[in-house]
Amino acid sequence: MAEYKGVMIFGELANGKLASITTELLGCGRNFADELQEDLCCLLVSDKVNEAATKEAIAFGADKVYVIEDASLKEYQGETFVQVVEKLAKESSPKIILMGQTPVGRDLAPRLAFRLGVGLSTDCVDLSMDSETKLLQQTKPVYGGNAQAIFTCDSMPQIVTIRAKIMSAMERDNSRKGAGIPVKAEIDMSRVATKIVEKVKEELTGIKLEDAPVIVSGGRGIGSPEPFKTTLKELADVLHGAVGASRPPADNGWVPETVHVGLTGKIVAPEVYIAIAISGASQHVAGCSGSKTIIAINKDPEANIFREADFGVVGRYEEVVPAFTTKLKELLAA
């Protein structure tokens, strides 16, 4: 039986650079690697991986960076990516594999775990290592965020996906030493049965939700698509922020799914999150609870969102928000 050693993270790239989730995973993985006194390795998978990305992974904590380049890996596809990760996992037999709870991680991690025949905990918000057994204690929200569960798994490798913006990246250290190791992809195309025929961007113009310092979100109580483009948009513009939504507006088609904040949408952590006419269902709160300050505007004083918020106003948003926006404009101009 193979000896399991070290920590492996699946790195994601965005426009050729490390995605923020990757530096977070490196930060988390570094701690466990130090505790085990073993190596931290990072997988970078694409059609072309910039050398800068490899160096970045080392500067953020990796000891080894496995670089897997192949034309078929340009876009994420479960069937190709899982072959690459499965091969690396078998060859380097790590004790731990960390992935992001991202669109890619959500699709890839279960494929990998079932292929390797081991357990998996998805969407972890806390991870610690038991000092005696050296096994991971994997904490994840369950029941739509109404409870949390702690899981352990004694089969190797232990695989988890980690929610974005939970773990801290290390300070970048360009003097850190590490090795970039090219690995052949060797993809068996006979095992690729799906074909991507078209990609369609549906993003709103303006600042991206994930990058916005302020997010103005609306819920079911907004009642129709228009206020997202007027009342909420005006407030967001004053604060140089973005407009988001809870699940009902996205499901009703009032806003594109790309701005849905929640357990099954985007997980965001802006400086300021303004929840307007949002009741605060656990599954929505899961997507915004990392925000620095949460402000709630809701006509129902009993709404759950007031249990999550730092500041609140009880009132109809149609009256509260325009006055709030006007006053803010005035104060910010002063």
Binding site: F114, G119, A147, V214, T258, R307, P322, K327, L328
Partner: protein
């Protein structure tokens, strides 16, 4: 065009729309307890999966077999799948199926699907509404060695293939896959239709088929709690401190203006 043979996996869960305050945990057994008046429901994502299958049946014709795994499955809850247009209902129902994880659940479902024998498309919700793991659909596909596509918001069957719109982070992609394959469905696909009275009456007369572990070639040690690969160490509710400062005013508009002043003073904005 021959009819499409579909399987839909549906799980009975505690109602996720129940007020958060109603959720309690019994730490002695690591289980959620809910007041009696809160009835179980079919997982919300599983309902979207059911709707995806029904739309294909509407358009090109087909047969839908619903499978549910658990113990003490409420017949009036799960029969909704027949009332809306499902053709057959198979329950994997036994005490030994209780407290499984994604592994033991996916394995038992895959074995049941093998026993059904003929299948073109297997639909699952993107995740369950209780454990929120999002693994079972992909797990079934891996165990059966067939392709899987996740996060479908639209599924059509054209020329013996499925054409699937999958949600991705900046929009959607259209992906094609042949039969048989697994498709997991997300909320934007749309809500499950209401059952017509005729459907409800017909469903009331139908009896589900019940399979025990032995019927799908499994030992009790391979299912439920015994078949888990991930151990549940603890289930708890994080303690939250209410800290919200409510800003008031003579009327709603004044409260809004006061909120602006407050946030500016606190240097939050």
């Amino acid at each position: 065009m021959p009819d499409v043979k579909m399987v839909v996996c549906c799980k009975q869960v505690p109602d996720p729309e129940a007020p958060p305050a109603a959720f309690k945990i019994d730490p002695a057994v690591n289980k959620v307890t809910l007041p009696r008046d809160i009835k179980p429901v079919i997982g919300q994502y599983d309902e979207f999966a059911m709707e995806a299958a029904l739309r294909i049946k509407d358009k090109v014709g087909g047969k839908i077999t619903v499978i549910s795994l658990g113990n003490n499955i409420a017949r009036d809850v799960i029969k909704k799948t027949l009332a809306v247009g499902g053709d057959e209902l198979i329950l994997l129902e036994d005490e030994s199926f209780e407290e499984g994880d994604s592994w033991s659940t996916a394995y038992a479902l895959a074995m049941a699907i093998k026993k059904i024998g003929e299948y073109d498309l297997i639909f699952c919700g993107r995740q369950s509404s209780d454990w929120d793991a999002g693994q079972v659909g992909l797990g079934i596909a891996e165990i059966l060695s067939i392709p899987a596509l996740t996060l479908a918001r639209k599924v059509e069957v054209i020329d013996g293939k499925a054409k699937v719109e999958q949600v991705i982070s900046d929009g959607y992609q259209v992906t094609e896959v042949g039969f048989p394959s697994v498709i997991t469905v997300t909320s934007e696909l749309g809500n499950l239709r209401y059952a017509a009275l005729k459907g409800i009456m017909a469903a009331a007369k139908k009896q589900p088929v019940v399979w025990k572990p032995a019927d799908i070639g499994l030992e009790p040690s391979q299912v439920g709690l015994a078949g888990r690969r991930v151990k549940l160490a603890k289930l708890f509710q994080p303690v939250k401190e209410a800290k919200c400062e409510i800003v008031e005013g003579e009327n709603a508009a004044e409260a809004g203006a006061n909120l602006a002043v407050k946030l500016r003073e606190a240097k939050i904005i």
